[in-house]
Structure formats: C-alpha cells, structure tokens
Amino acid sequence: MVGAERSVNELLDDMAVKIMMIEPGDLSAVGELLEVLERLTGHEEVASRALLLQMASVYQEALQALIMAELPDTAESYQQLAECISRMQEVRRNPEDQRAVAAFCSHLQSIGCGIDPARLSGGGQRQGRQEDKDEPEFLRDKELLECFIDETGEYLGAIEAQVLELEKAPGNSEAINAIFRAFHTIKGTAGSVSLPEISSLAHAIENLLDEVRSDRISMDAEVIELVLAVDDCLKLMVAHVQDVYENGVAYQPAAIDGQLALISGVLGKKCGAGRPAPAEAAAAAQDAAGEQPPPSAPAGGPVPDFLKDSDLLSGFISEAFEHLESIELNVLELEQNPNDPEIINNIFRPFHTIKGVSGFLNLMTINRLAHATENLLDDVRNDRLTMNSGIIDIVLGVGDFLRTMIQNLSDVLDKGPQYYQQYDINDFLVRIRACQAGGEAGEAGEPVQPLAAVPPAREAEAAGPAADPPVAAPPANGGKTVEAAMAAAGPAQKKNIEAAIKVDINKLDGLVNAVGELVIMQAMVRHNPLIAGLSDPKLNKDFSQLTRITTELQKTAMSMRMVPIRQTFQKMTRLVRDLSKKTGKLVNLVMEGEETEIDRNMVDSIYDPLVHMIRNSVDHGVQTPSERRKRGKPEAGTVRLSAYQKGGNIIIEIADDGEGVNTEKIREKALQRGLIQPGSSYAEHEINNLIFLPGFSTADKITDVSGRGVGMDVVKKGVEKLRGKVELQSTPGEGSLFLMHLPLTLAIIDGIVVRVGSERYIIPTIAIRESMRPKMDNYNTVQGRGETLLVRDTLLPIIRLYKLFGVADAGMDISQGIVVVVENEGRQRALLVDELLGKQEVVIKSLGGYMKDIKGVAGGTILGDGRVGLILDLAGLISASEEMGPGGLNPSNAIEQ
C-alpha cells in the first residue's frame, strides 16, 4: 500500500461512482458521499482553488438539503447531482471553465436547490464586490460577456440552420445532437456569466431534446416549432444583453415563464403519462426485492455470466473481503454498544455496497442475501427492530456465508468456471424474515447488553460523538433524522482512512528484486579493481551520493511491502468473542499499536501463532467470572494484544490478567515426561518455556478449544520459521505474557559473512553469541571424535562446517580457525569456520522449490561480487550435525547424500 493522499481527481471519481449507485430513499449512501466530499474540501489542492472549494461547499449544502428532505429525494435529483460532479471534474481540469460552473449551477437549480450563482461566478475573491447591486451581475466580467455574446450568437444561428435541416430529414440524429450540444453550451455559458433566465430556458429545451435524442418523443412539427421559437427568444434575450453591455441600457430580465410552460407542456403531453415517477418506482422495487428475488435473477444457469468481466470481478472480490472484515469488526463493536447508530450504519453501508456491486455483476445469490440483511439492518436503524443477539448472530453468520461464497468466486476466477458453486441462502432468508416478523410483533430476543463491564478506551471514544450528534434534527422526521445526524457525525469520526493504491503484489516483488539487484550492482561497480584504484574526489563523492540514493530507494521499496498489523489483530476480535461465549468467560480484547507495520509476507504466517496464543490466554489464562470475583478481580478478564517496534524487531505481546502459568504443574508434568531431571535446578522461566515443546500440556481435560499440547508447539514452530522467537513470562495470580520477537522483514537478514575454504556462508546475526579464535587448552575430545570447546565454563559441541557441508579446501586445524558460538532453541554450538569476512545486510533469495528443505540452508543471497552465498539455517544445521554423528561426513559423501 502506498500511503499517499488521494488526489482530488480520485475523490471526485469516487463520488461519481457513489452517486451513480444511490437509490432514492437511501440516505446513508448520501452520507457516504458527504464523507468523501468532506475529504475533498479538506484537500490541500482544493483549498488553494477557491472556485472548486466554493463548488464543493455548494454541493455539500445541496446534499445536506437532500438529507433534510428539503430537496426531492428522487432519481432525477441524483442524476442532476451526478452531473454536477462531472462539472466539478471539468473545473478541476480547467479552472477557467466558466461553462462548467454555469452548468453546475443550473443542474442544482433544476432540482430546486436555491443557490446563488454569484457565489461561484468567479471564485471566492469576487465576493467582496457583491455590494454594488446596481450593476447587473453579468456585467462584472466584460471579457467573459463579450465572449458569451459572440459565441451564443453563432450557436443560435447554427441551431436555426440545423433545425431547418432536420425539418427536411426528421430522423437525422446528427442534427439533433448538434442542436442539443449547442443548447447545452449556451446553458453552461449563460450560467457562468450569471444570466439565469437564458440558462434555464436553454436547460429546459435541452431536456426536451434529450427526450428526442433517446427516442422517447419524436421530432415532429410541434417540437421543431418549439425549438425555433426558443431559438428566437434566446436571440432576443442575447441581443438585449448586448444592448445593456454596449449602450448601457437598463437590464430587463426577460419573462421566460411562457416559453418554459410551453416546453414542459410538450414534454408532459408526449411522454409524461407513460413514465412512472422514478422515485416511486425505485422505492417500490426496493420493497419488493426484500420479499422475493428480483425478476432478473437467473434460474441457476450453469454458465456464470459474471465471469465476463474478470477484472471487475476480481476487484469486487477483494473489496468484498475488506467489506466483510469491516462488517465483522463493526458487529463486534456493536455488541459492546448495541445502541450506537453510527455502528449500525457502518455495518449497513458495506452490505449496501456488496449488494450494489454484486447486482451489477449479476451475482444474484450474493445480491439477495446482502439485500435481505440490509433490509434487516434498515429495520434496526429505523427502530422497527431492537438490536438483539439473534440479529447479531444472523449478521455474523451472513458475513461468514458471504465470505464463503466470495471465496468460491475467487476460486472460480483462479481455476475456472467448473468450480462454481451454487449456495443455498434460503435458510438465512427465512431466519432474517423470521427476525423481522418477530421484531414487528414485539417478540425480539433479549436486547443486547454491553458485554464488557469496562469498555476499552477506544470504544468509549468512538461512542462519544455519536451519542451527542452535532446536528440537531427535527424530531418529527423519524428515521431520517437519525440518519442525517449520523451522516453528519460520520465524517468526523473517520479520520484514519489512508489514501492508497492497490498494486499487484508481483509487480511489487519485481520492484523489490530489481532494487536489490541495483544495490548489488552498484557495489560491484564500486569495488571493481579498476574503479577502486582511482582516487578522484569527484568520483568518490558521486559514488557516495549514488549509494545514498540506492539505499533510500531500497528502503522505500521495502517499506512498500509493509502493512499495518491492524487487520491481523482485528481478526482476533472475533476469535475472542467466540471463545468467550464458548467458555462462558467474560473477556475484553484490548489492542495497542495496530498501526505497527510488518512485512506483508509475514501477515499470514503470524496468524496461526496468534490464534493459538489468544486461545491459550482465554482458555487457560483468564478465569471464569465467579473465580475472578473470588480473587477480587473484575469479572471480565482482559487480553491485551500489542505490537511495537524495538530495534530491528517487531514485538508482539499477548498479555492476560488471568491466573498465570502454574510453574509447579509444568515442573510436575515435565518430570513425569522425563524432560527435566529430578533434583536439578532450573530457573522459573526455563520451566515455563517448556510449554512450547510439542505435546506438552498441563490441562487436566482436553476441551474443544485447547489442551492437546499442540498449540504452543505450533506457535514456536511458526515464529521460528519467521526467524523470530517467542517467550513466556508469567506472574502467578497476576497473568501471563507471551512475547513474540519477529524480524522487521522477511526479505532482509542481518548476517555475518564467514569463509569456509572457497565458500562463503552467512550466519544470521540474531543467532550469534560470540566468536573467537579457540585456545587449544579449552579443546577436548570424547572418544577421540566428539569435539567440544570450553567457552565460559560451558562445554560446547564443535561443528566443523566444512565437514558438514563437504567443503574440500577448508582449513582443518582448529587453532587456525575461528569459532562462532551460535544458539538455536536454547542449544549452543561452536561452528568452526576459516575466517570472518564481515557484517552485512543481505537480501534473502529462495533457492526455489527445486531445492527447498535442504538441511542447514535457509536460502541464498547475492554477495557483493555477484556470487551466490548460502544463508545458514541453524536449527537444520544443528540437527543435521546430530544425525550425522560426531564424525560428520567426509566431503565426498556429503554431496552424495
């Protein structure tokens, strides 16, 4: 993700899409639109452009008027509002586009929004001049006016010619279009020079022509007559304006009502009766859709036609997943604050979007399910139903089911249409209907009580503004007032949305690889003996500059792969909810540091360990409410999930305030299983960390949540795979704390390059304890072969790397080599190498599936001279050395396996 602010253009595009999807009666969508608009007005670029800012704020007023039901909530209004966005886009492209401004005004005026075109006539700086009322407004900008008079004269002449043409050949659509365009332009420019009469007349005739253009009325003599009449009328009006301008004659606004009446008369006569009021039709359709599938739903045809546009579909899929995630989160939040209308709205909106897009893609099953759920939520929103746990379960269930369906779609997209599955959603539809019916009959389930006695601070904050809506709405308006309040409250709360673009991960990986190569190549060039031999200060300076740039580039490229850990954390919310229900415990999940960024490739890998640790905390850590009360703790336990960066690591903590780990119990079990020797002394944390061993469990009974001793093993394996480590800290009676140390990124590793014969290997720095030239006094052998070295009173087995890896030309003499003390999983070993070459950050490259799981090798990297160096995997290395016995392998059979 790229955290750049979204451009004005994107915001406008976003608005255009949103408004196209709005159905009459759907005020929450208008609320969404307002949100985007808010960001638009707050945008730097807009702020510096007075005209655009003015337009945006006029638009905002119009939307607000719409929400307050001051403007008609009809399809026509939305169409005009959509037009307005196009005009704003035009103005964005060309700030001088007065026509677009005028058209903007007339669109708004046509739906009854009383705006003063003067506000937009020339940007904010002109407002001061509004005082001199004597002069007609259109005279303010003489240049513009001249232009207008000239152009309009031409256009009117052209119109006349075209109309006469049309009389001869009535079906000439080119001519109709030309006339239409001319009137459209006149309308626009007239608006921009503040001649509202001309603009509205042109607008009216334009509407009529639009009907003609789309074959709803025919171009007969009557229409032609009318167009000519309007043309004449406009000519007169323009002539009068010219008179006013040139000769100072007092301006007399022409009476255009007669003409307008004529036009609307013709319009009404020709097509009025046949068209149902769009608002009613749409509203009726929406009502009907909840009860039965829309007639356009395919009867389960085997060839899914949504596959036609796979781009659109894949966009839908990824968006839908995001929506579903946000739904889930919000539902869980709702459970805490069942009466927060803002949260209901936050759930409603994604369902609405899924419904809209799925309908568009002809995914009727998804569409119906989303629609039914949306209806259910709408009832809740409008207080026809009380939020209860039944509804929450349904919504969560629907969310899960939609996810299954969309996952299937994603499979279909990847693998082919034969994977397409029809899902039966009737069960949900029945449940939803039952729920709606139940609510109306006043038999709702028990109302949800906030689960948590102590709501996390974050939620309390979120509830704040919603409880005190800034817009005082008239109480008579029922549901709409709530929405208006919410729509207004919404934007204020949504501050943390970051603008971003979506990039194909393969492209990103490609970039990262290319940058990695660049860095290496640059080092190679620099160390080329020819160049290194030069001592030109300019060259050196340029080189350090180049290094700086490439390093910067590499950093940026790497950071592009980083994503906030938020999403992973948020998945845990659901887990905690389900677990606490299952175990009958009250658990609050508090999350901190969700914005900490981790490598995108790590996201999936930390999910499993997190799940197991959270399970462990809820199942074993937090006690039952009654027990907690006995111990004087609040009934609801707290699990704290936090992430932060420390040095070159990401630390993830999972802390609970439960009873902590029972060290005695672990000791007992460990003794039973022979893991520790009786009588020997172990530090408490050593004992505690035994729980990470496979199959180790202290649970007396195995629940369906945990207790098999698998979980902690999974955690440890998972974390170590990421080259991290995990440890447990516990205070009896107070709680336990799991600490996960993870590397910042999977792509780069900090390592020490060592030489063994002619080969070079990289040892991860995290595993290195120390290195030294061994003293032969400390060297011992067992049975002449098992070699050990005494380092700080510890006997460490020696691993001769050249033996293990079959390097023929390495030094055999321990006293001449270097010993690197490494540690893995608490086991220390002394690695014998020939030489330490230096510390280096290396980019890890996989050796490919072709060579995976080679014991002792974690991957490869490209060293400064362009050759490949192998990165050592110490866990594999140690176990390989154990398998091969103290003698190791001799070079020839090491290669042969």
Partner: protein, 167 residues
C-alpha cells in the same frame, strides 16, 4: 502392446516443432525451443550441500538464484573437464509451485532445428533399467543423424528430482 505404440505414434504428432540441439559426448540431444530461456557461459557456481551429486549448486542469474545441474552426471555419463564451449542452458520447468528456472550444464550447444513429425519416432524400450526412457519424448532422425528429444520436465523438473531422491 500395439495400442501403446499407437498411442505413442499419436503423441509424436504433437512433438513436431523447433528444437535446440546440444551435445553430450557423442550424443545429440534436443529440447523444445519454447522451454529454453537463455544460454549462458559457465559462471561461478556456489555448491549447495546435501544435494544429489549432479546438482552443481546455484548461480546468480541477474539477481535470481537458480539451481544448476550437470547433465552428464545426471545421465551417469563419464565426467569431463569444462571447456570454453561448455555452457549452461537455462530452461523453464514445471515445479509444484509453477514454472521455475533451472540451468543445465552441457558440452556445447549446436543449432536450432525444425523437426517435422515424420522424422520423430517414439523412444525405444531398452531392457532393464539401464536407461530411463521416461526421460525422453522420442527420437528424431534428421539428415541421417539421431537426436534424442529430452523431456525437461521429467529429467530435471521437481518430479524428476523427487524420483531421484526417493531412489
């Protein structure tokens, strides 16, 4: 038996096309030109431990690490000193996780040939397991010389390696 041969004849039809030919000792081998990514001279190879003998190690192919194997060793042919004609043919083979690049060390590369279906015959069967005929798509007789059509996916694909490792 007859049906098998018929089936093989059928398969042979699909084999016609362009091939890159290269030498191993006195034998001439071909691989489908579409499988070949590039031909490079010998680079410095980093040995990887605990791999079969014929895997020489890994090289840096413009930033990616790819494995390289010696085809002579793979076919249990007599090893030979590398010369300036020795080169690495980088081919794309199907792995478990999609296509991967693998380098093959061969004695020398000769030419690109157009082989028609009439010139191709199914691989002969040899007694015992001296020669793994699975590795070959067929034989082609071109201008009186016999060329062996190599199935790279089988010989050096991951499945081929897996089979080797298991054996």
């Amino acid at each position: 038996m007859a049906t098998i041969e018929q089936a093989q004849k059928k398969n042979v039809k699909a084999l016609a096309g362009k091939y890159l030919t290269f030498d191993l000792g006195k034998e001439e081998y071909c691989i489908g030109i579409l499988k070949v990514r590039e031909i490079i001279g010998l680079l410095e190879i980093t040995a990887v431990p605990h791999t079969p003998r014929y895997i020489k190690g890994v090289i840096n192919l413009r930033g990616s690490v790819i494995p390289v194997l010696d085809l002579r060793t793979k076919f249990d042919m007599e090893a030979k000193e590398y010369t300036e004609r020795t080169c690495i043919i980088v081919v794309e083979v199907q792995g478990e996780s999609g296509a991967v690049l693998v380098g093959m060390i061969v004695d020398s590369v000769s030419e690109v040939l157009n082989i028609s279906e009439t010139e191709i015959e199914p691989p002969p069967t040899f007694g015992g397991d001296a020669v793994e005929t699975d590795n070959f798509l067929g034989m082609a007789k071109v201008k009186g010389r016999v060329k062996i059509l190599l199935d790279t996916d089988k010989v050096i694909g991951e499945t081929g390696l897996g089979r080797q490792a298991a054996a």
